[in-house]
Symmetry: C2
Subunit: 333 residues, 2 copies
């Protein structure tokens, strides 16, 4: 067993994410007022299983899915072994929770959260994050979402937020559209308490450069990282609920609905073309319905759509779909 790894590491992380799943589902049902989560438990042939919860046709949420899974198997897929060659030839254990909510009102952003934990032979690591995808965006919502996550990070290390915020902007990027997926949040992966914080595949990215400039962080124990991940997970409801509350009664019509359905197409493009969580799930014979629960219930594509100048739709592209320092946003006026 690797140095400093508690004997009950797996149970402790899976207990945490199961509890987070409970807390989050309860709070979302309360906000929605009508929709209820329905639960499916499932088993995976090669080992492990999960507990998927889906809310459909709610008052606030058109669809929401909150997954828990705990899987093990002979060896991690090549996409992960490339980043973690020490895990090659070893059995793996992976557990985590992931959540995607597709609200009905186009003024409420779509939200994604995922926290996960891996063990494989000599190595273990934490990963995950949360990011917000608005359709008709509000700068104050973006600032609130980032500040809550910054606060959770800052309690543990001053370098966490600036690196993980940049990593999120880098990760949730649609290269073929030259757009970020939304206004970001935080994203981290392969966190084992050693060395530089950035462990992504792009050594020349803004996140990588920033992390390199900061230099390696002092070693942190499993306990320290687990405490950090718990605080990030617990920041979710504080970060998202006030936004959904503030926007849920704003009136909207066909124009807003059409734009929301169109922009949901980007969510599909990101999840199917780029998302490592989706690819990991499909490569490891995960439960397809739970993996693709993140896809929106209704989506539109339109050839060569461009928003008209000086519209809220154009503002989304010009201001919100590129990395911004939202935590330090100050309203003008």
């Amino acid at each position: 067993m690797a140095d400093g790894l508690p004997a009950d590491s797996r149970q402790r992380f899976s207990q945490f994410v199961l509890q987070l799943q409970d807390e989050v589902c309860q709070a979302l049902e309360a906000l929605d007022g009508r929709g209820k989560f329905h639960e499916d438990s499932w088993e995976r042939e090669e080992g492990g299983g999960g507990r998927s919860r889906v809310l459909r046709e709610g008052a606030v949420f058109e669809q929401g899915g909150v997954n828990f899974s705990e899987v093990w198997g002979k060896e991690l897929p090549p996409s992960i072994l490339k980043q973690r060659p020490e895990a090659a030839g070893h059995q793996f254990y992976a557990t985590g929770t992931s959540l995607v909510l597709h609200p009905r009102n186009p003024y409420i952003p779509t939200i994604h959260l995922n926290y996960r934990y891996f063990e494989a032979g000599p190595v273990w690591w934490f990963g995950g994050g949360a990011d917000l995808t608005p359709y008709y965006p509000f700068a104050e919502d973006a600032a609130h979402f980032h500040r809550e996550h910054k606060q959770a990070c800052d309690q543990h290390h001053p370098d966490y937020y600036p690196v993980f915020k940049r990593w999120c902007d880098e990760y949730f990027y649609l290269k073929h559209r030259q757009e970020t997926r939304g206004i970001g949040g935080i994203f981290l992966d392969y966190q084992d308490g050693q060395g530089e914080l950035y462990r992504g595949p792009y050594p020349d990215s803004a996140a990588a450069n920033y992390s390199r400039e900061l230099g390696p962080v002092a070693p942190r124990s499993w306990e320290q990282l687990f405490a950090f991940i718990q605080d990030c997970g617990r920041a979710f409801l504080r970060a998202y609920l006030p936004i959904a509350e503030a926007r849920k009664d704003m009136p909207w019509g066909d124009r807003e609905r059409n734009f929301q359905l169109y922009r949901r197409g980007r969510y599909v493009e990101f999840n199917l073309v780029y998302d490592r969580g989706t690819i990991f799930g499909l490569q490891t014979n995960g439960r397809t319905e739970s993996i693709l629960m993140s896809l929106p219930p209704l989506v539109r594509w339109e050839y060569c759509y461009h928003p008209a100048a000086n519209t809220p739709e154009a503002e989304l592209y010009e201001r919100f779909l590129k990395p911004q320092d939202w935590a330090n946003y100050v309203a003008k006026g």
Copy 2:
């Protein structure tokens, strides 16, 4: 220049696909009666460009795209070099046409066609095919579509259809759903006139085994392969139009529409997760709007949908979404 390659090979192939684009668009407009194709010409920074044509909100076709592109650049992307290592370090030229039609009436199948030609250093090859994706299927339509393509193939070599039909079933397969995309057709790639017909990445697949059993085919010249590809391309209208004609006035309602929108989700999943044409386009900085023109205008996802027993929807899954010998189908009764 490789042996037997005519000096005007590129022009001849691109002329053929441009003409095919014209013929097909004209015939589809005539069938639709209302919709017209609108053309965009575009250039690609690294070299080349294309001519995209899109029909929207037609009477028969909700959306249809017929692309022509001709691109060149420094080197082919790694996904192709893996199959064609001789092309490494060489400039490439690639031209082709691709078409996807999303009909309004759920009784008309979606159709895809693509024929393409590559040159890179010492190597050249042809690829492409056509495949049919019904929602509410008819066995006689599936049989007709396959027979027209078999006939085009059989004029050139008796082994073509049986290998390329199996290859199509293998290629248009959604592993995470354990479903074929539709009822298949033909698919071929890396055809340079040498050796075994199957050149796909799965040496243990039905297509590979069948091709190996047959053994290598006698060498065929560029001219012979070009004539074959032309006949396949020209088979398209004969194969598809009678099906669309026969089904376009069948009445349908919400139930059929909902199922069509749901099944269109599989089209999106295939194109974004598996399709090599899409991945090639996105990897080579192709024109995103033209590449993703294949995505349906409106799509639905539904968590854990299963068709009720003894319904036409169930029949699609049970009978049509697995490989069948459609060319030899005989109606019972």
